[in-house]
């Protein structure tokens, strides 16, 4: 048989229709991305709540996505963990995990919104208000901003002193009632609840009071310094 002259023959072009139909369906789903993604988020969120296997992570659209600016997820054991509070303070302090856990604690439940679009509804964190740690260390009058450093060795963030003193800016060590897992920035991370996720430094190792605000890691790539959810980065999300 001579394949080169194979006659497509009679019949309906079903293959083409299926092909174009599926491509069109994909394109429509891209265009409807927001609603589609939010729907899947809800499904995934409710499944993940009862999931012990971690398989619900396979469902697209839902829940957390994990980012790191270094090659892998940094790791520090609970025993080895230390948080330094230094710079322009009267008494530079180093806290280990029990020392941090012994501070007056506070809990917060907020949506977590990423600047790339995903949002996790009603996330429950607990930890210590940053303002309480700042007061305990004694902020010197010439300090105007706070810098955050990560033990990944690369990531930095910063807030004005006024932002840092808000009651919804926390140093957190639990997520949904459990120690914060490594991929979520554990054992200790920041939670700047009213701002996009990049403002909440993961794998927090140092808090420094400084005389002048300096932009953090993502701000040097164009993200907004004042990363309020819904009022920055050209986005219109519902504030968290």
């Amino acid at each position: 048989m001579d394949v080169t002259s194979a006659d497509p023959g009679p019949g309906t072009p079903v293959g083409r229709r299926v092909f174009l139909g599926l491509v069109g369906f994909g394109a429509a789903a891209v265009a409807l991305g927001g609603p589609v993604s939010r729907g899947l988020s809800r499904v995934q969120g409710s499944l993940a709540a009862h999931d012990r296997t971690g398989l619900s992570a396979l469902i697209p659209g839902g829940g957390w996505r994990y980012y790191t600016v270094t090659g892998s997820f940094p790791s520090r054991s609970a025993d080895a963990y230390r948080l330094r509070i230094g710079g322009l303070v009267r008494t530079p302090t180093t806290l280990d995990l029990p020392g941090l856990a012994a501070q007056p604690r506070t809990e917060i439940v907020r949506d977590f919104q990423c600047v790339t679009g995903w949002r996790v509804p009603k996330v429950r964190w607990s930890g210590v208000r940053l303002s309480a740690l700042l007061d305990a260390a004694g902020v010197l009058p010439n300090a105007t901003a706070v810098e955050f450093r990560s033990f990944d060795g690369v990531y930095t963030e910063s807030l004005t002193l006024e932002q840092a003193r808000r009651s919804d800016v926390l140093v957190v060590d639990t997520l949904e009632g459990k120690p914060i897992p490594r991929e979520h920035g554990g054992p200790v991370r920041m939670l700047v609840a009213p701002m996009y996720g990049y403002k909440s430094t993961k794998w927090l190792s140092e808090i420094r009071l400084v005389p002048k605000l300096r932009p953090g890691y993502w701000e040097q790539y164009g993200y907004a310094q004042n990363g309020w959810v819904g009022r920055s980065n050209g986005r219109s999300d519902v504030p968290t």
Binding site: V14, A27, G117, R235
Partner: protein
């Protein structure tokens, strides 16, 4: 030339296109799953390397098919995959499809639908992949970026299911698998499964 008891089924270019597309798809799936699943990410790390491999494999993905498109035999096969004959509809409907003596052409209806779905899946994944690769250069609004993310993930899972089925059928039909590996198919098998093609002009 194949011996008299074997029928020429796929050209070397077609077999090369199949094999290199399969290899790229496996690389994309492996790197993609590691980047996507937190438990695997924690095990493997090396995200920048995995990202680079994923992106390069993705950009190469359409090349084997585009190369094969330059050959008349591949274009003829695409034509055959496109058209549904009355026998194809009957093949889809009937439970005794493999024993009822239906005169199926070079490809059965399942192969035709799978080809269309693989093609569409590839286009959707490549398109959304490019959107995720260059969101700022393409000036994508947030909604589209979010849509591209969720569609890229969902299409991957759909295509993964299709690939598992594809591999299962290849395993169940060694002669069909041999045809893709060697280029030729046993005449008796061809008469049974692709009667209209085996006895064709």
């Amino acid at each position: 030339m194949s011996p008299p008891d074997r029928l020429e089924r796929f050209t070397p270019v077609e077999r090369f296109a199949h094999r290199s597309t399969a290899a790229l798809a496996l690389v994309l799936l492996g790197t993609g799953l590691v980047l996507y699943l937190p438990s695997l990410s924690l095990l493997v790390g090396r995200r920048p390397l995995l990202e680079a491999v994923h992106v390069v494999a993705g950009l190469l993905l359409p090349l084997p098919v585009l190369l094969a498109l330059a050959t008349p035999s591949f274009r003829a096969d695409l034509g055959a995959l496109n058209r549904f004959s009355p026998a194809d509809w009957a093949w889809l409907r009937r439970r005794d499809r493999r024993t009822s003596g239906l005169l199926v052409g070079k490809f059965n209806a399942g192969q035709k639908l799978a080809a269309a779905a693989f093609g569409a899946g590839g286009v959707v994944l490549l398109g959304t992949g490019l959107m995720l690769l260059l969101p700022t250069q393409l000036r994508l609004p947030d909604g589209l970026r979010q849509g591209a993310t969720v569609v890229h993930d969902s299409a991957t899972l759909a295509l993964l299911a299709l690939l598992v089925g594809h591999a299962r059928l290849a395993y169940l039909h060694p002669e069909a698998r041999r045809a893709m590996r060697t280029g030729s198919m046993d005449v008796d098998y061809a008469r049974r499964e692709h009667g209209d093609w085996a006895t064709g002009p």
